[in-house]
């Protein structure tokens, strides 16, 4: 106790002494830092001076070189107009200066040039953009220069508007860092020391402490940092989880516009995962062509070749279809034929179906893909009987040939190798067209079948043998593949699961598209088998088996996949709106409104509901429909279901889309489609009959708009070609800003008497002041030839300008800005009742007022 007390007292004494010392020390340090600053500034200025000297000599040479060349030619050859005598040095009185009035007898005229109407430089936008945060005028002092009063006025915000500047973090200068560091190193981190330092620098103690710890890290941890850097440079971090690796993708990719860094919907959108998975590409699943040397199909080449032969022989022998699939240049097409044709054959050959059934029932451990193959295999066996007979003769003839090739392989396992061989022939054969060659190869294969036949038959009869064979293949040929399976990194596993989601259990496609360079098809296939054998089995009919396993797989995937870490999602620039809609008070800002709308539309934000939307669904809550971008299922009751209109009926209110102020959506509506071809491939033609007339904003089917001096005021928008009533002319694009922002900007715009604000929906106002298109220059008229309409296009509100009547080519375009009656500036007010009758078109078209 005693020692401790004395300890503390001595400490306090020390610190008291230290405090006086400390202030002195601090001042000393400050002086030192400031002196060094003076020196450094002088150094900089001096360095800069030398640079300027250099620049000047360069400039001098450029200016003087010219004079050497042209001194004689050009210049002011004429006599001066007049001369004004000056005051020779020393004679003139400093205070009194005699002034000459310049009187010029002659002066050249600068001929008149037509002025253009004033405008602010603007950037063309072909689609709306959300305002970037640094463009906000809210909370910023704006000084407005009054043209007439020649006075600078501060556009002061009312008190509630002035946002308290956020407590900004103090930026520590190097000098301050030095003071901090030196003092703390010498005097320790005592409370008095911290207080003294924070007072001295003039910031909060907590900040001083924080800074000290960062400095400590910086100085102490230099080695550590280098180590970390080295770690970072290791390229793709395979150790990361898939969601971490996809973080930047999720943050930057807009799933609505399908592009990166979308300016309309912004970064860091909430991820919506649809509750319904897309069906995978099942048709590609029995791709016969091995994807690589490491393809699992190499192991199945026996079965493959068989089925291929059937396709071919079938054509020639059974004459099911006149065209022989030997003409396949397209392998996929051939395959489809294959599966189609095999099926009828199966039903015909009833006798062999027993074998097939036996196979189905018992072979559960076999993976589904292999199963299909096995099925085909069985089929092929059936047909094989028929083929055998008919081709007996040819077979015998060609037998030696095949034996030759088989023996050339010279490998002790004739069955597998010939299988390979046939696979190769098969591939080549697919591209051949001549009937002869087909026959030959077919027979050749038939021969090889004889070799394998036993195996196949065995496989069909004895169910266990088939998987065994497969296993022995994979093990025998690619032992390293099996070993690798134990080294699957987390990201690879996750990629694999994604692959199963996308492609089904097709190891070729998964390996090629998702694990390229990481895992071979064989490895994927092995992994697939391992992971599926570890899962609970369900004995089901083969047709549904595939689906089932995938479902189990996805379930499994969902369980396995960790919930997306929140922190990750936060990264990147969050551009979320902080402003909530205020129903009251947008006093007197001129905002254009669309026709036929007394109530503003509601901004749509996709909901992330799973399956059905309940009461908690944000869409339901906001009063918007669920759209295709929502997470909920297609059968959600809140979904907008699109229209079922027959040909070109979407132009009137009878179309539910049209009536709801929406454009039709080819993804949703039944008969509204988009086509890009000319119809030569059997798809619907691009334009003309049957084309939905309510997708014009989506398809940008707009008119050419010209910009020219208005007949009324300022600039005007003109039409290049004539249009008929209700034709779509173009979109009014601009920056999407909040109502609050619009109120602030509006104040400034109203002063300048030129506003390009357009009320879009409950959340956004379009501002075309600095970004927009030519239609922003269309003038107001109370008797217009166009109208503006807000349409919901693929979940976004957009403003379309439409013809109200037939408009001739090169006519100027007008529409009613529909400013509120009490808000409208004088030029946009409706004419008085008495005047209304005699107001002709030209009179009715009120002037767009310009301030200049």
């Amino acid at each position: 106790m005693v020692s401790r007390a004395s300890d503390s007292s001595s400490k306090s004494r020390q610190s008291n002494d230290g405090l006086g010392n400390l202030t002195y020390k601090l001042n000393q340090l400050k002086k030192q830092v400031q002196a060094e600053r003076v020196v450094s500034v002088k150094d900089k200025i001096e360095k800069n001076r030398k640079k300027i000297e250099n620049d000047i000599s360069q400039l001098l040479s450029t200016t003087s070189r010219k004079s050497v060349i042209f001194a004689m030619d050009n210049g002011f050859g004429n006599m001066p107009l007049c001369k004004y005598s000056g005051f020779p040095q020393g004679l003139g009185d400093r205070d009194y200066v005699n002034s000459h009035e310049v009187v010029l007898s002659t002066s050249s005229k600068l001929s008149h040039v037509q002025k253009i109407p004033p405008y602010t430089t603007w950037i063309f936008l072909d689609k709306n953009q959300r305002m970037a945060e640094d463009q906000s005028v809210v909370g910023r002092r704006r000084i407005y220069y009054d043209q007439h009063g020649s006075e600078a006025l501060v556009c002061s915000d009312s008190e509630e508007d002035i946002i308290e500047p956020e407590e900004e973090k103090h930026e520590f200068s190097d000098g301050e860092d030095r003071i901090l560091w030196t003092v703390f190193e010498e005097h320790g981190l005592g409370e008095e020391v911290i207080n003294a330092v924070s007072q001295f620098i003039g910031i909060a103690t907590s900040e001083v402490q924080d800074r000290y710890s960062t400095l400590k890290e910086k100085y102490d941890g230099k080695n550590l940092k280098e180590f970390e850097d080295a770690g970072h440079e290791r390229g793709i971090a395979l150790e990361k989880s898939l969601s971490a690796a996809l973080d930047s993708f999720d943050n930057l990719f807009c799933r609505r516009c399908l592009l990166f860094d979308c300016r309309l919907h912004g970064c860091s959108q909430t991820l919506i995962n649809p509750s319904e998975k897309q069906p995978y590409w099942s048709e590609y699943e029995d791709d016969r062509k091995p994807c690589s040397n490491h393809c699992y199909l190499q192991a199945f080449s026996l079965s493959l070749s068989l089925s291929a032969i059937i396709t071919n022989t079938e054509g020639t022998l059974l004459h099911c279809n006149a065209e022989v699939p030997g003409a396949h240049s397209d392998i996929m097409a051939g395959e489809r034929c294959n599966s189609k044709r095999v099926l009828p054959v199966t039903s015909e050959a009833v006798d062999s179906s027993e074998v097939a059934i036996g196979n189905e029932n018992t072979d559960t451990s076999m993976q589904s893909l292999g199963k299909r193959k096995a099925l085909e295999l069985n089929d092929s066996v059936k047909v094989f009987d028929e083929i055998e007979e008919s081709l007996n003769k040819k077979q015998k003839k060609l037998l030696p040939l095949d034996v030759l090739t088989a023996s050339s392989d010279g490998i002790p396992r004739p069955d597998t190798k010939s299988g390979h061989h046939v696979g190769a022939i098969n591939d080549n054969e697919l591209q051949m067209t001549s009937k002869n060659t087909i026959k030959k190869s077919v027979s050749a294969k038939v021969v090889s079948h004889n070799n394998i036949e036993h195996n196949i038959m065995d496989g069909a009869k004895d169910v266990n043998k088939e998987p065994e064979m497969k296993q022995s293949f994979s093990k025998g040929e690619l032992p390293e593949g099996v070993l690798c399976s134990s080294e699957w990194k987390p990201i690879e596993k996750e990629l694999y699961l994604k692959g199963v989601e996308i492609f089904g259990r097709n190891s070729c496609l998964i390996a090629r598209n998702l694990l390229s360079g990481l895992k071979t098809c064989m490895e994927v296939s092995t992994y697939m088998r391992d992971s599926s054998s570890s899962m609970p089995h369900k004995s089901v009919a083969p047709s549904s088996f595939l689906e089932e396993t995938v479902k189990v797989d996805t379930d499994y995937a969902e369980q396995e996949m960790p919930a997306r870490p929140r922190l990750l999602r936060r990264r990147g620039r969050a551009r979320k709106l902080k402003y909530s809609w205020k129903s009251a008070g947008h006093p007197s800002i001129w905002k254009r409104i669309a026709d036929g709308k007394n109530q503003s539309c509601k901004q749509y934000t996709p909901c992330g509901c799973q399956s059905m939307c309940g009461k908690q669904c944000p869409c339901l809550h906001n009063g918007t429909c669920c759209e295709k971008y929502c997470g909920c299922s297609k059968s959600c009751k809140n979904r907008f279901r699109g229209c079922h209109c027959a040909k070109s009926q979407c132009r009137s209110r009878q179309c539910p889309c049209f009536a709801a102020g929406r454009e039709c959506d080819p993804d949703v509506c039944r008969n509204c489609w988009v086509s890009c071809g000319d119809g030569s491939l059997g798809e619907p033609p691009k334009r003309g009959d049957g084309q939905c007339g309510n997708m014009r904003l989506l398809l940008r089917q707009q008119q050419r708009i010209l910009l020219a001096k208005s007949d009324v005021a300022g600039w005007g928008a003109f039409l290049k070609n004539s249009v008929s009533k209700n034709d779509y002319l173009g979109e009014y694009t601009g920056e999407l800003i909040s109502h609050r922002e619009a109120d602030k900007r509006g104040k400034i715009y109203d002063r300048a008497n030129s506003s390009f604000l357009f009320d879009l929906n409950d959340q956004y106002v379009l501002d075309a002041y600095r970004k927009g298109d030519k239609l922003k220059f269309a003038n107001h008229s109370s008797n217009p030839n166009c109208f503006a309409k807000v349409m919901l296009v693929a979940g976004d509100h957009r403003v379309g300008i439409f013809a109200k009547e037939h408009i001739e080519a090169s006519e100027e375009l007008f529409y009613d800005y529909r400013y509120g009656p009490d808000q409208a500036p004088a030029w946009a007010r409706k004419p008085e009742g008495s005047k209304r009758e005699d107001s002709s078109v030209s009179q009715g078209r009120a002037k767009k007022h310009q301030s200049h």
Partner: protein, 346 residues
């Protein structure tokens, strides 16, 4: 105003004149009653270093300084539009070295005058509002930039009459641009400032092919593919009010607002993130009674001195490159509107 951190203090010049140099009024001219908004010596052609031009109202006048303080009026041009009020003028020339005068003002039309032939060479229509300043690229004197009330800065080729680049858009000025200047040696670089209280540094390096193309363009100037430069390489918030004049001093920038001083600062750009960076204020040159805007300063050819007037008609001449700054002279001038430039002193 934010406090200056320790170790970042600027060096402030003393207002006591050093009397290093004597300035005397050698002559005095008056052009009618209209204010003269600009006077500029020819810095781009050594034959005409003694020639200067003034603009005021709808008139552009060319003078020459002769021996013994004699000034000769050489040429005079009058815009047919009486409403025109020229705000700014700059010397330029074509590739053959024929001197041009480039003037602009309230009408927003840039007039290019061929002074060797005493006739209008071209008129550039395009700016959406009045033109506040025009400057010439000293290394390529066929290029001029103009700063306008329409919130843009535009680069023109005076010879071919082409608008090559427009510096405006997403990262551009948010109010009138009041001043613009070419970097003395980095041909790609310009600095602009204006009523949005910022100074922006722009680079046209990526667009230089268009500059070159403008010299060989034979089609109509209106068909030239004018490009928008939307993002500056640096934005500085050195001032808290209108910035009405900026000039390069080597790699540093001199700028002024309505705070009774000219500020010299160093733009410290971050290599990785364009547009960001900090401004290190190095020196301050106080100018009393200079709290109204649209008072510009100008430097001599060698960037040794800068002169600025104030509200009371006094002229302050600062030695720019001494540290701390030295006031060379304080001159009293009784005529408020005539702005004397000490550029004649070299």
């Amino acid at each position: 105003m934010a406090r200056t951190a320790i170790g970042c203090e600027p060096l402030v010049g003393s207002l006591t004149p050093s009397k290093k140099r004597e300035y005397r009024v050698t002559n005095k001219l008056q052009e009618g009653k209209r204010p003269l908004y600009a006077v500029v010596f020819n810095f781009i052609d050594s034959r005409y270093f003694n020639v200067f031009a003034t603009v005021g109202g709808n008139r552009v006048t060319v003078y020459q300084c002769l021996e013994g303080g004699v000034i000769a009026a050489l040429q005079s041009y009058v815009d047919e539009d009486k409403e025109e009020s020229f705000y700014t003028v700059s010397w330029a020339c074509n590739v053959d070295g024929i001197p041009f005068l480039v003037a602009g003002g309230i009408n927003g039309i840039i007039r290019v005058i061929d002074v060797s032939n005493e006739k209008l060479h071209k008129s550039f229509v395009g700016h959406g509002d009045s033109i506040n300043e025009i400057r010439t690229q000293p290394l390529k004197p066929s290029l001029v930039v103009s700063a306008s009330k329409d919130e843009s800065v535009r680069l023109w080729n005076v010879q071919t009459g082409i608008c090559i680049l427009i510096f405006a858009g997403a990262g551009g000025h948010r109010n009138e641009v009041l001043s613009v200047d070419f970097h003395p040696s980095d041909i790609y670089r310009i600095a602009s400032c204006g009523m949005d209280n910022t100074v922006k540094i722009w680079s046209m390096k990526e667009f230089w092919t268009y500059v070159e193309k403008s010299f060989t363009w034979t089609d109509l100037p209106s068909k030239f593919p004018t490009k928008y430069v939307q993002f500056p390489v640096f934005i500085a918030s050195v001032h808290s009010n209108y910035v009405d004049c900026n000039r390069w001093l080597g790699d540093f920038i001199l700028s002024k607002s309505v705070d009774n001083e000219i500020v010299l600062w160093e733009p410290k750009m971050k290599e990785q993130s364009p547009g960001e960076g900090t401004a290190d204020i190095l020196q301050k040159y106080p100018v009393p009674e200079c709290d109204i805007w649209f008072i510009k300063f100008s430097c001599d050819f060698h960037y040794n001195a800068a002169a600025i007037g104030n509200r009371e008609g006094k002229i302050f001449v600062w030695e720019l490159q001494s540290s701390p700054p030295v006031l060379i002279a304080r001159l009293i001038c009784f005529s408020l509107h005539v702005k004397y430039n000490p550029q004649s002193v070299y």
